[in-house]
């Protein structure tokens, strides 16, 4: 249990199990729906082209719009989650997603489809996806890499399941019936949202009060402080808008950009996304180009998907090992490097066996990258700022997604050479890996002496260990790596500010829902 602080209420620890497994299942399903849906809709394109007398590129816009909404509405979702809590947002998101598809089944032209199946469903999926990750980060701490890996496995599983299912629906009911039933399936996102029980903070209600009293240390002074804090708070209405709490309750916390690790991670992720999705898109055409029959070419994609299913949880397990967990960012850059090397080395694959080998290695490394991407982010920014961080990150990634694959397609059209884009994608990945590794390593070297000094000071001042327990170092590692210049100079100041913030945060109550940003799953020595 966390150490007590004078004047502060002990924060709630992540369950790391129990109900967390249900949350994991919900997150698994929502990740699956979010990533697989744009692909699953594409099986309907042929009939849509026939019904509305339009071309393939017009129908392909639907997938692009869904992806754009998923990535581009990141900050909006962050704001909404920070304002309300996770569960209502997810329930609304599920309703939006399913109603978008239901309305789409009644549309009479392609524009209505763009608006309903594209915008509304995409928005609903986005409103589901982000909060599910946030809740996962709250429910798991020690087992978080494994949880991230398992949840990320939802994407390939649903990819391989939804497309054939969509085909069956199309064959039997036609595209309208198929959309209607897909809308019904998306309603299960609401079920996943209902599962995301908020982790209650301790100052919520009488039950928590008494629980707190049971667990509090025995000094009466501390009791009094805590009690005072509680009674003081209960007289406030809402409490959220009070002056002391304002600065720690931003709707969209741009201060994540002051975290150098986050900036490095964002840049590296941007470069990564430029090249990551290109090979799976191009591999089938490339295979057909070198003479592989159609069915075998399509089988290549299923190889990638199948291996991806297993690679993700396994890399989650590896990332959770004591040896790897403190260096999970390096592990992430290693997986990106492997993916890039796979691309580059297989650019000259001229036989079907070579392509199969490429798909195997690509599946493994793709799974590693997919499983670790949010784990590293959670590690860097911590659970308090994670909602804002992921929103901003997804928005920045949106630009890369818009640029990357289409430009690769243009390159292929221009030069008629698939090797070129494999080299390009591989080099982008390698660049991203090297950048991440190098930048983190440099920052670490820079900060290590300062950090050590700062920690010493903190210990002296406060007279207690400030989360230097065995587990916390593990979690704080990447976060501590790079501090912004502002914070470095005044570690003491920031420390006391953190303490004050934590105390104030503890007192924030949300009248209707039990979810606040108050507790910290891993205590950070500095912001």
């Amino acid at each position: 249990m966390g150490h007590s602080k004078p004047g502060g209420c002990p924060p709630k620890e992540a369950p790391d199990g129990g109900w967390g497994w249900m949350v994991l299942i919900g997150c698994f399903m929502i990740t699956g729906f979010s990533y697989a849906f744009p692909k699953a809709v594409s099986v309907y394109f042929k009939e849509l082209m026939h019904d509305f007398h339009i071309g393939y590129s017009d129908t392909a816009w639907i997938s692009s719009i869904i992806l754009a909404m998923l990535y581009g509405t990141g900050p909006l979702c962050s704001i909404v989650v920070n304002r309300f809590s996770c569960r209502p947002v997810m329930l609304v998101g599920g309703l939006l997603a399913s109603s978008g598809m239901i309305l789409a089944s009644f549309s009479v032209n392609i524009t209505q489809l763009y608006l309903t199946a594209g915008v509304v469903t995409g928005l609903g999926l986005a409103l589901n996806f982000q909060p599910s990750l946030i809740m996962l980060g709250r429910y798991f701490d020690k087992k978080r890499p494994l949880a991230n890996g398992l949840a990320a496995a939802g994407s390939p599983v649903f990819l391989s399941a939804l497309s054939p299912f969509g085909q069956v629906l199309l064959d039997y009911y036609g595209w309208r019936g198929g959309f209607l039933i897909m809308g019904g399936l998306l309603l299960n996102c609401c079920t996943c949202g209902a599962v995301m029980r908020p982790l209650e903070s301790l100052t919520q209600n009488s039950k928590n009060k008494s629980e707190a009293k049971e667990m509090l240390p025995t000094t009466s002074l501390e009791l009094e402080n805590c009690q005072q804090a509680v009674t003081r708070n209960s007289t406030k209405d809402g409490g959220r808008k009070s002056g002391t709490n304002k600065k720690s309750w931003k709707l969209l916390d741009f201060s994540v950009f002051q975290n150098r690790s986050f900036v490095i991670y964002t840049i590296s992720k941007f470069i990564l996304v430029l090249g990551l999705f290109v090979p799976p898109i191009m591999i089938v055409n490339y295979a057909k180009d070198i003479g592989v029959p159609d069915t075998e070419a399509a089988f290549l994609l299923s190889i990638i998907g199948f291996i991806d299913i297993f690679a993700r949880p396994l890399s989650g397990v590896v990332a959770g090992l004591d040896l790897v967990r403190p260096r999970v960012a390096y592990f992430f850059s290693f997986s990106m490097l492997c993916n890039g090397l796979t691309d580059v080395l297989s650019a000259r694959a001229a036989t079907y066996t070579g392509l199969v080998a490429f798909c195997v290695f690509f599946g493994v490394t793709y799974g590693m990258v997919g499983a670790l991407q949010f784990e590293v982010l959670m590690d860097i920014v911590g659970s308090q700022k994670f909602p804002s961080a992921i929103g901003l990150l997804l928005l920045i990634e949106a630009f890369a997604v818009l640029i990357g694959p289409p430009s690769a397609g243009h390159l292929v059209d221009a030069f008629k050479n698939y090797k070129l884009i494999f080299y390009m994608a591989g080099s982008e990945l390698i660049l991203s890996a090297v950048f991440l590794f190098g930048a983190f390593y440099l920052c670490l070297k820079q900060n290590q002496p300062k950090n050590r000094k700062g920690r010493q000071q903190a210990e002296d001042v406060e007279g207690e260990t400030v989360a230097m327990g065995e587990n916390s170092t593990v979690q704080d590692y990447t976060g501590d790596l790079c501090e912004s210049p502002l914070d470095e100079g005044s570690l003491e100041q920031s420390l006391s500010r953190v303490q004050k913030d934590q105390r104030d945060d503890c007192n924030v109550t949300d009248a209707d829902s039990g979810d606040t940003e108050c507790f910290e799953q891993h205590e950070k020595t500095s912001l």
Binding site: E47, H50, D51, S105, F106, L169, Y173, G174, W175, R176, G177, G178, L180, I181, G183, G184, L185, L187, N188, C190, T191, A194, V195, R197, S206, K207, K209, S210, E211, K213, S220, L223, E224, Q227
Partner: protein, 319 residues
């Protein structure tokens, strides 16, 4: 002989038409309602098709469309250099199988080699690919595709929604069949359709066109529909796939899914509320609400016993 030099010559294809005594069709063989052949009796012309080619060229195959019982003469005219050694053997093949094994001696002086093959086209089994083969070096072949003319349609696959109508049309170009047959596939076997059988189907055939109108489509109409143009010598047709989409039929599974989701969500939320209530009750028993700090500090067993004693005394008094 190896190294045979064959001069490339221009080949001109011309059609020889010679009048023959007609082969009268025996109308009792066919159960035709209207024997159209009666008007054509006496005018069955034998069809003669000739391919001219020189040794090294590969001529294009000629398609012979046959709709009536006729005699067919296929002729190949090969032009060679005079320096070619004789004798050259030749044969005819039908669909890859030898049918005429005679050896011909050919006229070396004119440099032309002829091969003729005559047969009566009576039914579909006479259709096929007839090839005249000359045993030159390399082999020279001329191909004839003898067939009953095919029918065409605009779309082989049609997709409609339920409640719509659809008009399936088959055309046979310049050949007018005796009549048209429409049928649909039901569990692997063909079921003939006609205007009398069901209200839903209406067949309209005129000349070289025939259309099947299906009104008020329902999901069960999703099958293959065959249109066959029947000639004297057989029929040719094609099958069109019709798929009927139904939004209404998808409503039932949809409602089931929605019901399942509602049940799950309500179940989860109710369970959560019950658990909360249970925990509240449990806590309420241990710690009554509105504890003050003094009570807390004082919260030893004395305090609890104190209260218990009080309540016990109250009960005693009541009793």
């Amino acid at each position: 002989m190896a190294g045979l030099l064959i001069k490339q010559t221009l080949s001109v294809i011309f059609l020889l038409v010679s009048f023959w005594d007609q082969v009268e069709s025996d109308s009792s063989q066919y159960a035709t309602p209207e024997p159209k052949t009666s008007t054509d009796v006496g005018n069955h012309l034998p069809v003669v098709e000739t391919i001219h080619f020189s040794g090294s060229s590969r001529p294009k195959p000629i398609t012979v469309n046959v709709t009536k019982v006729t005699k067919i003469v296929l002729s190949c005219n090969l032009t060679l250099l005079a320096t070619h050694k004789s004798p050259i053997t030749g044969m005819w093949e039908k669909d890859g199988n030898k049918i005429d094994k005679r050896e011909f001696d050919f006229d070396q002086n004119t440099g032309h080699l002829f091969q003729n093959y005559e047969f009566d086209f009576q039914n579909g089994s006479d259709a096929g690919t007839y090839t005249c083969v000359f045993d030159t070096n390399p082999k020279s072949e001329g191909r004839f595709e003898v067939q009953i003319p095919p029918v065409w349609t605009k779309n082989m696959k049609e997709i409609r929604s339920d409640g719509d109508h659809i008009n399936l049309t088959c055309k046979s170009d310049q050949y007018i069949p005796l009549y048209w047959i429409w049928s649909k596939e039901v569990k692997g076997s063909k079921v003939t359709l006609s205007n009398e059988t069901e209200d839903q189907y209406y067949i309209y055939s005129i000349g070289n066109k025939s259309s099947l109108l299906i009104k008020s489509l329902i999901m069960d109409n999703t099958t293959y529909y065959h249109c066959d143009a029947v000639y004297e010598v057989g029929f040719s047709g094609l099958r069109i796939h019709l798929k009927v989409n139904s939004l209404v039929a998808a409503v039932i599974p949809f409602v089931c899914i929605v019901a399942e989701v509602l049940v799950l969500v309500i179940f989860i939320l109710v369970c959560e509320r019950k658990m909360k209530q249970k925990e509240d009750l449990a806590e309420g028993e241990k710690f009554p609400e509105r504890l003050t700090t003094d009570e807390l500090l004082d919260s030893t067993e004395n305090g609890a016993r104190h209260r218990k004693v009080e309540s016990a005394s109250v009960q005693e008094m009541q009793n």
